[in-house]
Amino acid sequence: GDSVTQTEGLVTLTKGLPVMLNCTYQTTYSPFLFWYVQHLNEAPKLLLKSSTDNKRTEHQGFYATLHKSSSSFHLQKSSVQLSDSALYFCALRRYGSSGNKLIFGIGTLLSVKP
């Protein structure tokens, strides 16, 4: 069945350094991937989405490229800020008979230190 894998549970970085959060997926359908960000005690919010192979998508300094050949949609940023500390979820659109269901990874907690 469809699945999403995020390999890092916790990533700790110093402010100003680059970051890459891993996301790989499995599906037999055409993939549609999402990154959601959840700050402490807040609602998850959409950060990025893509269904186009090999095209970089960007928002708020974060970027990701869907690579169908490697089934990946890694999230990157060139210089992290303290305000980027949050929980990041990768999600895959799940095809079915009804509704726009998503399958979520377990999440990666990004902690940025001064």
Binding site: F32, F34, A43, K45, F89, G99, N100, L102, F104, I106
Partner: protein, 114 residues
């Protein structure tokens, strides 16, 4: 823009108790969702509804009931709270047309069972 409201924000129950969580959205979205968020397990779909009076089971529906009384509201009932259970329940909604597939989330209800 719209907003999703969840009540209560915090819910403390006793083992075996029946507990109800409520969600309201003013996006005028057709589909609404209930997720359970546990640390290290991501977001797991409990129930969803594609229109008023519709109910569809998710991956984690056992132990829960749901009700979509009208388009703007979706409630979730924990039929028998489990001792020492702690989780966050997130409500979401989405548009059913177009190619957005984005889900909008509420801030969550935090459940603690004593």
């Amino acid at each position: 823009g719209g907003i999703i409201t969840q009540t209560p924000k915090f819910l403390i129950g006793q083992e075996g108790q029946k507990l109800t969580l409520k969600c309201q959205q003013n996006f005028n979205h057709d589909t609404m969702y209930w997720y359970r968020q546990d640390s290290g397990k991501g977001l797991r779909l409990i129930y969803y509804s594609i229109t008023e009076n519709d109910l569809q089971k998710g991956d984690l529906s056992e132990g829960y009931d749901a009700s979509r009384e009208k388009k703007s509201s979706f409630s979730l009932t924990v039929t028998s709270a489990q001792k020492n259970e702690m989780a966050v329940f997130l409500c979401a909604s989405s548009i059913d047309w177009g190619h957005s597939y984005e889900q909008y989330f509420g801030p969550g209800t935090r459940l603690t069972v004593l």
